[in-house]
Amino acid sequence: MTDAITPFVEATVRTATPLAFAALGELVAERSGVINIGLEGTIIAGAFGGLVVAGTAGAGLGFVGAVAAGMLVAAIFAFFVVTLKADHIITGTAISMLGVGSTGTLYRLYYGTTGAALETPTLAPFPIPILRNIPWIGEAFFAQPPVMYLLYVIVPCLAWYMTRTSAGLALRAVGERPEAARAAGISPARVRWVALLFCGAMGGLSGGTLVLAQVGTFNEGISAGRGFIAIAIVVLGRWSAVGVTGAALLFGAASALQYLAQAMGWGIPYQFALALPYVLTLVALAAAGKRSAAPASLGVRG
């Protein structure tokens, strides 16, 4: 049993990290009242931007490229949704398609029609002394590429920002009652633009992490629905930074379950483990029902 736990925790954290980045970005967007279904597009743009920049400037600067690419895609989304007041869902679907389609096309154009696997420099793990020796979880949480440790900074900062600062209060006010926020002198449009750019940066970071710290290559399906999973994670995490991080770990654990099930010979089809988090999200949504923690103006145009 103990031989199975360490790889299980490691697989959990590994899967959860890019999901957590993306979901924290989505959290801020949704708190401002915008549901960003285009997140999938920002993640894959980040992955591709990271690949292109890392190829000439190394993995470290690759992350800058990833964040910039994510923000670019998010800016297109914000222009339509905030400035033109378009429908969030329809725009978001189009933005996801735009991200997936344009990176797929560019990848073929740059790296050949065969789409051959391509190696890119990756970040080496940076183990933290002492902490890495904690049994079972030490390696998984403290012997990772440094980008993962960013989470340990971002999560508490975000939690503090959203609940304890006036800017965070403004963000939540815009998500609940934009007209009331406007009466209080807050510009909902500006708050949403900033929130969406942050969301894009985090989506880009998520894609960059995939390519530059985990997989070491790019392929057209690399985002693999993570943008949509992130939306589920925000629901499951009940729109709080800590809750969202926990929910990301839960999704990571569910997908790691397939390896554990194989190792332990449980004989459950692996697809059930993969589908479980989505079903859980539906159950969580139903359980929360009309008392849901969702921002009151979530998804409302304007």
Binding site: I37, T93, M97, L98, G101, T105, L285, A286, K290
Partner: protein, 350 residues
Amino acid sequence: MTLRAATTSGLFSWRRLLPPLLVSAVVVGVIVVVIVAGHHDIIDSFSAFGRGSFGSAYAFWSATLVRATPLTLLGLAVALAFRSGVMNIGAEGQFLAGASAATAVVLSGVGGGMVLVIALPAAVLAGALWAAVAGWLKRRFGVLEVISSLMLNFVAQYLVSYLVRGPLQEPTHVYPQTETFGPAAHLPLLISGQRLHLGYAIAVLLALVLWWMFRATAVGFRLRAVGAGAAAAESAGQVVVPRVLFTAFLLSGAIAGLAGGVEVTGVTYALYEGISPGFGYTAIAVALLARLNPLAVIGTGIFFGALEAGAAAMQRDAGVPFQFVVVVEALVVLGVIALEWTRERGDTRR
């Protein structure tokens, strides 16, 4: 999104001509950029595009219209939902549910020579049930249908993955797909020597029925009224909004399920994981470009069918990456949104 009927200004006014001109410009523009950036031959590429889409009778009947069939049916499913104010983005999942149910019926061996008479209704039912989950969650618990229908897409995807690697896998257990259906489970072909099947005729007929339903029946009126403004419809009386929304969900899912059943019995004759290359998402572009009008969906379905058929030929014969099609689809949707915005702004100024 508030999509309204086209304005009544003159038949050849700029307003009417602008959308098709813009869409054509976007398509040609993206193709040219991709061709030039990839150093492909422009003439070769465009002639491959033409050959693959409209260039010959075979291209039109066997590539463009065969591709247009699921896009038209799913476009109708999306148009019906959006017009009724239901943000069903679960057409993809409902399509997969329908395809799975039809496959299960065919492989079970029931019905003998009449198997299609059972398989297609099973697909309709499965699609409706898959949509009903999201519809029920909305009605009973107030769950946002966008999130629930999206989650159900992934569940459906894993369900298909499980079926074709588990209970429905072909007898040798080597490939992740079902065995090929026998001829009794093939939809009749419409023209001899062509791949076009009965499914396309069903799609066109359904478009006519939905158009008539929205125009002339009480159900259609209720759906439209709720879509135009739920609160107003409720206070005007005679309309129970939650029930109407649920009905719209069921109908939309039923059509998407039918599309899945039609695809496995008309085109693939088997079920496998990648059976839908995102048809359910492309369908959103199909419906929006048609401005949610069922009759216009016939046209936009052919448009996107030709685009995908032409792009496939362009990749095969000239090496131009197929993925640009998705960029075009996304830009079409964004273009429709932008046009809608200029129209709304024009209205408020007057």
